[in-house]
Amino acid sequence: MFLLEYAVLAGILYGLYFSLIGIGLNLTFGVLKIVNLAHGDFLMLGGFLAYFLYSALGLSPLWAVPINLVLFVALGGLLYALLIPRLRQSRDPEMASFILFFGLSQAIEALAILAFGNNQRSLPAAAIGPGTISLFGQVFPLSWAAAGAAGLLSVLLLYLYLYHTRLGQATRAVMASREEAVASGLSVGRISALAFGIGLALAAIAGVFAPYLLGGISPNMGVAVTTTSFTVIVIGALGNPVGTVVGGLIYGLALMLMETYASSWATLLPYLLLVITLLIWPSGLLGRRLRSA
């Protein structure tokens, strides 16, 4: 019973963190209808920034959160302007996006190896803050709670942005129908560039906590993280940010239960959940059904 309680609480903390990992990818997919296969690599870059703030400047890795936010929104805007308009002119933008972002992922990984070496890096638990935290009688590292809180806060802020600001409503309009948004006079290019930047920034913010929850940061971690992110958003519903929270929590709980009771099977989990979800709920658990007439 003790183990189960621990696994469930840890699963919720991990689940909130996985929501943070997946939500940027989901936002990008929802707005641009492309899968950013380099998503995990931007998480890795965000993690390295946190690592260097601590190791080179002696600053708390948490300083990387606001820095990543500003830096990666700007980087996203730049990358959008460089890549996406050309991508949209291709005959099959979705397929072209797979190839393009796969190439970008490989390029980022190669450059990261050149810049940081191939070794895995980690941060001491005390870098986030000393001690542990007690939740319902169970004790967890403070870094896990900080990651869960960052996930929850990011999802809430994104929800407020999407549902309670005009720019957010416009973003959801682009998600609903890009062409209708253009016809309605929305500045679809600017809205998309901002969404792409926010998506990258959320991945980079998740990277700050990767040394604690993913076991470290290394240049070749991108593909695995992208697979996990993809699983999380497919479980919830592609293009539905609220679904990402559901997907993240299911993934986190399943991972912790597997780690607790069948740890040797845990690495199979992302692929297993992906296949099960696609077979049983192809539109995801929160796939929306609309009246057609």
Partner: protein, 240 residues
């Protein structure tokens, strides 16, 4: 070209990719005038509307709105200038009725937008009764109503509509026509692409499009009196 015209189209050519659909399209729309663009499937009606609002590139020719060359201006600038477009979809299905209306006036000052959204909800009681409902949960007819309301939030000078009767029962077609009639005479020009000849009740001008070219154009009475047009679109003989 007349400088009094709201919209002047001269020698327009356009198409998709490398496929030319339209050629030598020229016509005028006066302020407040209602024009119906009639033609069979594949005539190029939607292509023409999409070119006018900037969703498709203009290959050659000129489009002038209030004397200003629209040329390669992006759609959002055309909307800001007072051209609203209601596509066949017309709404954002996953967004609420109120959100659709707010997005119809995106960029307007907040106080003005609030007032306009309220005016539209007052005008459409069916929509006002549940403004938080997703547009996708509405019936086809109600969605058209919302599409019209959304397109009118900005109080455009020109409303361009693509087949507003598509998928509607005759009852709702009548409702849409009655609705549009209310806005006629309020300095709103209408350009409606349709196959349903019922919309000619609204029209002061008719343009018949076939094979990407204008086959006939002029005042409604004059065009509909033409033998060929009557046979092709009304299955009627020449009036005796």
């Amino acid at each position: 070209m007349s400088s009094a015209a709201l919209l002047e189209v001269e020698g327009l050519a356009s198409g998709y990719g490398k496929l030319q659909i339209l050629s030598e399209i020229s016509f005028l729309l006066a302020a407040g005038q209602s024009t119906v663009l009639l033609g069979p499937n594949g005539a190029g009606k939607t292509t023409l509307l999409r070119t006018l609002v900037g969703l498709l590139p203009l290959w050659s020719g000129e489009i002038r709105y209030q004397g200003r060359e629209l040329g390669r201006l992006p759609p959002e600038v055309r909307v800001a200038l007072g051209i609203s477009f209601m596509s066949e979809l017309g709404v954002f299905p996953s967004l609420s009725i109120r959100e659709n209306l707010v997005l119809g006036g995106f960029g307007l000052p907040a106080h003005l937008l609030r007032r306009r959204v309220k005016e539209m909800l007052d005008l459409f009681p069916d929509l006002a009764s549940r403004p938080g409902a997703p547009a996708g949960s509405l019936s086809g007819g109600q969605r058209k109503m919302l599409g019209v309301a959304k397109a009118l939030v900005r109080q455009p000078k020109l409303l361009i509509m693509d087949e507003p009767s598509a998928g509607l029962s005759p009852l709702f077609v009548n409702k849409v026509i009655e609705l549009l009639r209310r806005f006629q005479g309020q300095e709103l020009a209408l350009l409606i692409a349709e196959q349903n000849v019922r919309f000619l009740d609204l029209a002061e001008q008719v343009i018949i499009l076939e094979g990407g070219r204008i086959q006939a154009a002029g005042p409604t009475g004059q065009v509909t009196a033409d033998d060929r047009v009557r046979r092709a679109y009304f299955s009627l003989d020449t009036p005796s």
